[in-house]
């Protein structure tokens, strides 16, 4: 569908998706000829799909490398950020949501409600800017980027000397494997503000859903049955009520994962965090069509995979669901 929209562009602009090195920019007409970019849309669509399946998504002028390479270096960073954001989302969302439901109308509950409303109403781009103004502009505790200048120079020197090996592509793991704890701590430190920004809205949503679905579950007959057969309050809450309450939470997480992708684009742009989202936004403003298309196709794949994970979690939480 996206590629069909591309028909609105001129052949020269469309040629960008097929170029794999800057040298090829010289003879753009040859490329238009070679890939038949002035041919009708169906043959072009087929060519694009064919190339994509062979791992050729074109050349990214923003990243100054092929789109596939850009994704390979940037995706691990985005993945680190997204996974790190899961800790506050699950921790704050589920834990505070449970605490609020179990202490209904007490201080914890009221506090959680206020927190949920505030967090829910802070758009990513406002929260990110405000955090930067306070903690970078005002206090200078956290800097944008992924490493301080000193550490990034040290890292590039180490890599150039062959003393730093790229085992996984994930800087957070590689720094540990190479014994560079300074770089590891620096990286984690730089993750703090982006993670808060990225997880605020989602945590608040999960917290609200968790609270209301646990309250719902606590009023069910099976909870009364569990209580009346003499189970401890703790067992009733965690084994009977909370496990059932998690099902709606998982349904909502399916949607929030998609929202997380929206957040990644904005968060990475604000904090100059060199991941997929920042590259995607930069590509869009600089009319780097190949990157925008490649990034979108890759995002679609990740979304499908993420939904698959949610489906598997469903089966783990709810034994009624079986995938045969």
């Amino acid at each position: 569908m996206i590629v069909l929209l591309m028909q609105l562009l001129s052949p020269a602009e469309r040629a960008a998706t097929f170029i794999t090195s800057p040298a090829q920019l010289q003879n753009i007409n040859v490329i238009i000829e070679k890939y038949g970019l002035d041919k009708p849309w169906y043959s072009q669509y087929w060519r694009w799909i064919d190339a994509a399946f062979h791992g050729n998504l074109g050349y990214s002028t923003v990243a100054r490398t092929t789109v596939v390479n850009a994704i390979a270096t940037r995706f691990p960073r985005t993945m680190t950020l997204a996974l790190a954001a899961l800790f506050p989302i699950v921790g704050v969302g589920i834990w505070l949501g449970t605490a609020a439901a179990l202490n209904r109308d007490k201080v914890v509950d009221q506090f959680t409600r206020v927190l949920a409303i505030v967090g829910w109403s802070l758009p990513t781009f406002v929260l990110g800017i405000w955090l930067l103004v306070i903690f970078y502009g005002g206090l200078n505790w956290f800097q944008p980027g992924i490493l301080t200048t000193g550490d990034s120079i040290r890292l590039s020197n180490l890599t150039a000397n062959g003393a730093f090996h790229d085992y996984t592509g994930f800087l957070i793991l590689d720094s540990l494997f190479n014994g560079q704890f300074g770089i590891f701590l620096d990286f984690v430190w730089h993750l703090v503000l982006p993670v808060i920004t990225l997880s605020a809205v989602t945590s608040a949503q999960i917290m609200r859903v968790m609270r209301s679905s646990l309250l719902d579950a606590l009023g069910q007959d099976y909870v009364r049955t569990a209580r009346s057969k003499g189970l401890s309050e703790r067992a009733v809450n965690t084994k009977h009520a909370r496990r059932n309450a998690l099902i709606p939470v998982l349904t909502v997480s399916g949607f929030t994962i998609i929202l997380l992708f929206n957040g990644v684009v904005i968060t990475e742009t604000i904090f100059s965090y060199p991941g997929m989202g920042q590259w995607f936004a930069a590509a869009a403003t600089q009319l780097d069509y190949a990157s925008v298309l490649g990034g979108a196709v890759f995002t679609a794949m990740v979304v499908v995979l993420a939904n698959l994970v949610v489906d598997v979690l469903y089966a783990l939480v709810d034994p009624r669901i079986r995938y045969d």
Binding site: S121, L122, V126, W130, V133, L259
Partner: protein, 348 residues
């Protein structure tokens, strides 16, 4: 339920009455009225609506002191600007109903390279380039509603059409359309919108098209579900027996019964649509520089995170005011939306 009150009829969800008069006495409305959060949300949203409507009057002082093309395009000569705030003049009404597009251009107080702090004339200060923050935010409220209403309106029209066709025709058409809706809904809205804006080119109109291209999908799903359930009801069989054909059944008998809840849900989405538009503008994909638009106002802040050495928070106003306006707006819509969904929800 109090059956003695005239005008209240039992509807499908048993809560909302059919006649407008009964609405004010209904249980649902009473519950809404007693919820302080719902009232806060309503007040906030009404406040923003009023700001959007009376933007020309609220920026009278700015229009008077910095003469710009907006005043000229309203047909006002030198010394006639005061007519904007005089309700007995036609200009007053014209500026509210159909202000010239030049009014959305923020007047520049100066061409300063750094932001100007708030002062006598610049109530909230100015961004780099001298763009008046107060003017930009007030007229930005208007352009926000403009975007929100147009996008949601188009989304409802197109979504209702697609949903009605899918729900009424059924069979493979329904299947194909709904799988396409699934695909649209499974992609992050911002990512799709960015792709579309990149291909169409950067402008506010294209931002609206891009958001509308995503926004219709949920409405078509809701309407299709409604139609599927209404289709089986007796009165549809009755209409058929009287000789009504497909399109008439859909337009006269099915749509009026399912459009109400859809319109309520859709109008609550205006807040979310405004937020996506602001996010796109923030990334630099929206309106041109100098257009009154919230996303752009706060994107100025990205260049002024840190003040000059020694005064780290010197440029606080560039990020604080636009941020506050957006946060309170989102808060208002969220509170209102939550309360209305509560009322519409049968279970609670």
């Amino acid at each position: 339920m109090d059956t003695s009150t005239e005008g209240i009829e039992q509807t499908a969800d048993g809560l909302l009455p059919n006649s407008p008069r009964g609405f004010w006495r209904s249980k649902a409305f009473k519950r809404f009225r007693r919820n302080p959060l719902a009232i806060t949300g309503t007040v906030l949203v009404i406040f923003y609506v009023l700001v959007a409507i009376f933007a020309p009057q609220l920026t009278y002082f700015q229009l008077k002191t910095i003469r710009n093309t907006c005043v000229r395009d309203l047909g006002l000569g030198i010394g006639e600007t005061h007519k904007i705030v005089e309700p007995w003049t036609p200009v007053f009404w014209r500026s509210i109903v159909a202000p010239p597009s030049t009014c959305f251009t923020i007047p520049r107080a100066s061409y300063s390279a750094v932001p100007t702090p708030p002062s006598g004339k610049l109530w909230l200060g100015a961004t780099s380039g001298g763009y008046d923050l107060y003017y930009g935010l007030v007229w930005g409220t208007r352009s926000a509603f403009y975007v929100g209403i147009l996008v949601v309106g188009f989304g409802v029209l197109f979504g209702a059409l697609v949903g009605a066709i899918a729900g009424y025709v059924g069979g493979w058409v329904d299947n194909a359309v709904m799988r396409f809706v699934d695909v649209v809904l499974s992609m992050p809205s911002l990512v799709i919108a960015i792709v579309i804006v990149t291909i169409l080119g950067q402008s506010l109109t294209h931002v609206m098209i891009a958001i509308a291209a995503v926004q219709w999908a949920p409405y078509s799903r809701i309407l299709r579900g409604d139609i599927m359930s209404i289709k089986e009801r007796d009165f549809i069989d009755g209409a058929r027996a009287l000789g009504a054909r497909g399109p008439r059944v859909v337009l006269r008998h099915i749509l009026p019964n399912s459009l109400g809840p859809l319109l309520v849900i859709a109008s609550l989405d205006i807040g979310a649509v405004v937020l996506i538009a602001a996010a796109l503008s923030f990334l630099g994909l929206g309106a041109p520089v100098g257009y009154a638009d919230w996303g752009q106002m706060i994107s100025f802040a990205r260049d002024w995170i840190k003040g000059p050495p020694g005064q780290p928070l010197a440029y606080w106003f560039v990020s604080a005011w636009p941020g506050l306006v957006i946060v309170v707006f989102v808060l208002g819509w969220n509170l209102l939306g939550d309360a209305v969904r509560d009322v519409l929800d049968v279970r609670s």
